[in-house]
């Protein structure tokens, strides 16, 4: 904490000593401190019930932390309200674990929503929707109601909606849970494309196949605590402390917490 932000890259996410308790007494996250750089791709892994979804929910302000500080893009998101919060959320794309698709709307309408709220031009929206559907090989589903899709298709539509508005932060919860190997590859390709164009991406998953060979940082959560935080290679994070024990280090600029 003493020589913070010495890094050449600014932090997209700062979580300091964050705890989340659900009533009556479930501690979903316990003393989490981590710093994620702008433009980083970051894996969040752990068994079911470890607290991955809770962490993502805290980051997109769907839940409030019981303790601790969370900053996204330099703003304490739990103090931002009104139009400022709306503007911030337009810059954060989330693919929820439960998708949150509007099942009585078409695939195209679902994907368009995130762009409509930031007043993109209809022509731009149409083109973007078509190109995303093409990348996910869902072209023929353009006018199908999302309620009629298979789980795997719904999952990809949810992902397309998350990345559609070219957000600077993309939170993805179990993106490959219902997918075969080929679809998984397409999804990862789409995410990597967003990553290459500068977006910060956090992927919560228990699918080993998508992070096994990755060079990015991987944080494992166990029972709400940080179990391990691997150092990524080539991520411009020179002083990462590869702590092996839970609450040890965050790796962010080598801060000891």
């Amino acid at each position: 904490m003493t020589e913070a932000t010495a890094s050449s890259r600014t932090a997209m996410i700062e979580m300091i000593k964050v705890t989340k308790r659900y009533p009556p007494n479930v501690t979903a996250l316990d003393d989490i401190s981590v710093s994620i750089a702008s433009g980083e791709m970051f894996f969040l892994i752990g068994r079911s019930g470890a607290g991955k979804t809770t962490l993502l929910k805290l980051l997109c302000n769907m839940e409030r932390p019981s303790n601790g500080l969370i900053e996204v893009a330099g703003m304490n998101i739990h103090q931002v309200t009104g139009n400022k919060l709306a503007k911030l959320r337009q810059k954060v794309g989330v693919a929820y674990q439960d998708f949150r698709l509007l099942t009585d709307r078409t695939v195209a309408e679902n994907i368009a929503i995130s762009m409509e709220v930031s007043y993109k031009q209809p022509q731009i929206i149409r083109n973007r929707v078509r190109s995303l559907l093409a990348q996910l090989q869902l072209e023929d589903k353009h006018d199908i109601l999302t309620g009629d899709l298979s789980r795997g298709e719904q999952q990809r539509v949810a992902l397309a909606r998350a990345v559609a508005n070219s957000p600077t932060l993309i939170l993805v919860d179990e993106p490959t849970g219902n997918l075969d190997a080929i679809s998984t590859a397409q999804v990862m390709e789409l995410l990597i494309r967003s990553h290459n164009s500068g977006a910060t991406i956090i992927i919560a998953t228990h699918d080993e196949s998508i992070y096994r060979h990755s060079t990015h940082r991987i944080m494992e959560i166990k029972n709400g605590r940080i179990a391990s935080l691997s150092s990524g290679d080539g991520q411009g994070w020179p002083n990462v402390v590869g702590a092996r024990d839970g609450a040890g280090a965050t790796g962010g600029s080598g801060d000891r917490i």
Binding site: M62, N83, A86, K87, V92, I113, E116, V117, Y119
Partner: protein, 295 residues
């Protein structure tokens, strides 16, 4: 520009999704506008008829005998003491006889056997136009009756009394139907918007999550309220106009409506009714949003 495009698209979606309910609400609003404006139109026309009639209102004081010019002057002063009047006119027995004969026209020969002074002399008092209201006219007539030598005062009491009690009743009906209009417009619209909001919690929730501003979420509902108020009042007034048109057409020959000219609302009143119902409906939609839209 893009903001309004998005808002209209969103409103269009709402309309498409909930149009049966909206249609019912719109019909209810237009029906209550129709009821209110129907009574209000009659009331306004009664008022203006009463206005015209009271301009023509004259009190006739029948005298026991023909007053001499000096007495006429005294009576004139006495009358003016009560209140300023527009005109005081003395009618001698001979004048009364001639007038009556003129009114009879071709049948005037029935008067040949009558003495030329069988009709009483009288004073015709035209009150100032500011003298309004039944009680004031009554007071004035009571005063005139106390003049020495006066026999009887006439001004069509029965007619005036009925007219005033009718307009009074009508004004209560107008108030009641106005109250009905307020209730239906605000409560019906509020419950419609409430249904829309509750039926789309999921979508509104998602809109918030993807960063829709409050205005983006709210404005369509406000627009719905405005639209309901506008179409509701337009439909109500249009059907009133059709009714008005039909009535004046079919009853104009029968002499019933010849008593006074029946006119439709002037543009100012039309405008006010439309604005009023828009405001009421928007208020209804606003209260629902305040209660059920968690943003």
């Amino acid at each position: 520009m893009n903001f309004w495009f998005s808002i209209f698209r969103q409103t269009g979606r709402n309309l498409r999704q909930t149009w049966p309910t909206l249609l019912m609400t719109c019909l209810t609003v237009s029906l209550s506008v129709l009821i209110f404006s129907f009574f209000y139109l009659i009331y306004l026309n009664m008022l203006s008829a009463g206005d015209k009639a009271s301009h023509q209102l004259r009190l006739v004081v029948y005298l026991e005998e023909e007053p001499s010019p000096a007495l006429q002057e005294q009576l004139r002063r006495k009358i003016s003491q009560f209140d300023q009047v527009q005109e005081i006119k003395f009618i001698s027995k001979a004048e009364a006889f001639n007038r009556f004969a003129d009114q009879l026209g071709d049948n005037r020969d029935v008067l040949t056997d009558m003495p030329a002074d069988f009709l009483p002399a009288s004073i015709e008092v035209t009150p100032l136009k500011t003298l309004r209201g039944l009680s004031q006219i009554q007071l004035f007539s009571e005063y005139l009756a106390t003049l020495p030598g006066s026999q009887k005062v006439q001004y069509g009491q029965k007619w005036v009394e009925r007219f005033y009690s009718f307009t009074q009743l009508l004004s209560i009906v107008v108030l009641l139907s106005g109250f009905l209009l307020i209730l239906t417009a605000t409560f019906m619209v509020a419950s419609t918007i409430r249904l829309t909001i509750l039926g789309r919690q999921e979508e509104l929730e998602l809109l918030k999550l993807v960063g829709a501003t409050n205005n983006y979420i709210r404005t369509p509902f406000l627009l719905e309220g405005i639209l309901l108020g506008l179409t509701g009042s337009l439909m109500g007034l249009a059907s009133l106009y059709a009714l008005f048109h039909w009535t004046t057409r079919h009853l104009s020959g029968t002499g019933f409506l010849d008593l006074f000219t029946f006119t439709f609302f002037p543009p100012g009143v039309l405008f006010t009714i439309i604005c009023l119902s828009i405001i009421l409906c928007t208020a209804g939609s606003y209260t629902s949003m305040q209660k059920f839209l968690r943003i």
